[in-house]
Amino acid sequence: MRFEIIRQVFQKEWRETLRDRRSLAVMFGVPLIVYPLLILITASISQGAAQRVRQQKMRVAVVNAGDAPHLVAEIERRDSGLRLARGLDEASEARRALDAKRVDAVLVVPPNAEADALASRPVSIRVLADNSRPVWSAGQKKIDLVLQKYQEQIIAQRLEARGVPATLVRPIKTTRQDTALPDRRLRNLMISLLPMMLLLTGALGAFFPAINVITSERELGTLESLLVTPAAKMELLLGKVALVLLSALLTAGLNMLSMALVLWRTMSQATALAASNAAKSAGSGDTAAAPPPLPGIDFGALALAYVAAVPTIVFVAALCLVVALFARNYKEANSYATPVFFLALVPTMMNLTEARATPALLATPAVNSSLVIRDVLNGQVSTGAFALAFLSSCLYAGLMLSVAARLFSSENLVNPAWEPLSFKGLRRDGKNGRPAPRRLPAVDEALALGAVSLLLVFYIQPSLQPLGLLPMLAGNELLLIAAPALLFAWMFRYRWRETFAWRKPLFGEMLGATLLGIGLAPCIAVLAALQSHFFAPDPAKARATAELFVPALQSNPWLTPIAVGVLAGVCEEILFRGPIQTALARRLPMWAALGVGGFLFAAFHLDSYGLALRTLIGMILGWLVLRGGSVFPAMLLHAVYDAVLVGFSAFTLHRFGPEQFVKMTDRPDALLQDELAKQIFGGAVVAGPFLVLAGWMLCRSAHRHKARAEQQHAAQQREVQERVAQAPLTPLT
């Protein structure tokens, strides 16, 4: 990779973009000019309409108006916001007027209402109105206020008649003022608009440059002249990707800033206006309310929201690149792009549903950053949620970029008839009746497989939980973990034996794996206990897990440990030591492949407390497979390990009973109060390291034996070949 070449390509693309008025208009024109105008215009229109409704007097008819003179007087006050429609004393007449919209509301006062009320007899006034009319939403409060004042008057008169001062029933006068209002309104507006805006403008900012640097170059034939320079394809692509990303990030950032400023400006204007109105109307009154503070922009939160959006913007930009690579010409690119722009609707939908930020949603592309942006602006985001959303978005963005890189590296790029979007190549057979050669999984495919499986587990596992431990586990392991791996292998024609390491193990390996499985269980338990001193598991979660195990362990104390062990051992090894580790080991040095594979394995268990130790177990399992070439010892180790742990749980449950068993998740040292349990656990802890050592030595010697046998076999083969080559050719006849 030569930076100078990448820089040259980027510079050329940048120069072209700057000379492309259409891209410039999208990047700078829209945010700087169009938004302010658009928002100011819509705001003034909607404000005007709202103001008209507020200022309009509501027409009210009062049936039997003569029986409530003080009510009529209240309505006729200038500041009531109501206008009395006269001559509608008759109930049926008033109703007709309401239906014909000649009045906006009818107050039905019973005969003799005020006299009855003053005499402390119950009186009820009915309010008739068409709730579907917009005038009602603004007018409702005015009627309520008038009725409330009327009621206060009646009460005051009643008290006066009894010689009690009116202040007796209103000892405290309160005035209320919501100081948070303008700030919160601004924030809510930002929350509803910002995620969509960031994705949409990011896509828009990426789209035209992506088409320019990829599709147009293909269509016009300039790509050919680039491909015959010494620049490598990846250098060319990186230069182009840099431009597309920069453009997307710049456009999104500018739009965000511009929108925030425009919203802030509009809101502070509205707030100031409201404050001056309030001051005016309060000028004659007793207390002048303090003007509400102007809304402020929290630039820290805004920057954090932008950072949260960056990987998703990169993802969207990479998506645009892939679209540009799929398309044979400008027109096709435009039609393929429509679904990309639909992505921008996702945040709006999330906003409508007011979804909580669950781990599953935080790992879903596009959804995750909208949730995080919302929570950042609300000031409620947790570091974990932010990190999960950020990292998963980075993963998706990386996958999308690797898809782009693959498409770009195809030599068909210069073939104008190339159709990458054809599904004919997906299962590559039927070509002259000859199937395409089988192959090994690539890293991006393996990571995509991991992501698919992870999403399945996220979404489906919770709905399996009510079925009980074993059905849940069977569904989880067979359908969500093993099945996707096998499906991928079938779809992409992986070499079964090599991908899944389906080779005959040696007896020594299997024995060693069994010892390792038994020995690792107490060793890991001790390490977990040590870890809990500075990083303790979530007690609620641990209790929930324990409760899930109770019924299964009670009904099948022997079968459950075996079933758990076999299901987890076989299925999880198929996925993690199958395509994922095989792909990683092709590209990374062995220890790196083991580390990454182990981490993925641990991450899948969705338990941050067990992350480090599960990574270690994953690495040990991976080592067995990579060194021995067979997955079966790893399956055995995994199954034995799980069975031992679950078996010990079955024992404690039997010994202590379900209540104590669940409680013990919080206080594992309670276990040691029981003599038998103490003996078993103590024995296991002492024997564990020896078993691990013995198992490890057995496996190593088996691996060495295998390596020697393979060397010998290869040497024999070479010898045979040499002999055949040296032998004189004799005619067969």
């Binding site: 050329k12 120069r15 300039t222 050919e224 015959v228 010494p230 490598a232 030599e411 004919k424």
Partner: protein, 252 residues
Amino acid sequence: MIEVQQLSKTYEDPGGEEIAALTDATLSCAAGEIYGLLGPNGAGKTTTLRCLATILAPTAGTATIAGHDIVSQSEQVRRSIGFVSATTALYARLTPRETLHFFGALHGLQGAKLEARVRDTLSLFAIEEYADRPNDRLSTGMKQRVNLARAVVHDPPVLILDEPTTGLDPVVSRTVEDAVKTLAQSGKCVLFSTHLLDQAEDLCSRLGIIAHGRVVAEGSVAELCAQTGSSNLRGAFFALVEDRLEPTMRDE
């Protein structure tokens, strides 16, 4: 300079069928020579030249350019060639000078050396006058001149030209042909594909006749005439090409 041994290329069409675009092509071309690859449309000229330019990977056979293998040493091959085809276009929003700068830089030229090469190339192709006008405001002839200049800005020993005069009027074609001759006289090895018999006869010292993905004959015009017993290149060409036509096509 160019040595091609039994080069083959098969494509897969969208239906999954394999199509042999080029079968066992063998040819060679020396420095200072203009070698013409003559054949009808769809004969495999473009595939051959794209394989040599390392844009496509051959499915069988070998080829070397300036001593570098086109598969294992593709980067060195790309350093040694200049490539122009009928379909290559220029970046519309760059000027000729910027275009030469960009391609020179991609070939690793820098600083004063790059400046000097750009200046020399502009003057060699007489482009100075419109060197700072955007490419999309140039005439077709000017564009093709810039295209040629773009291909030689790094002074490659080998030029691969895929029907560079297609779509040009005779006057502009002539200027391109003259430029090619000049380049060959300066010692460059030129591989030139065309379907125009006159152009091939006028320009090339040796010809390879290509039809249906196979190089069916190779030699100077006189040699080809002698080989087929024809009095001119036209006769020789049809004799060689029709000989290879599918039986059904011949019947029609």
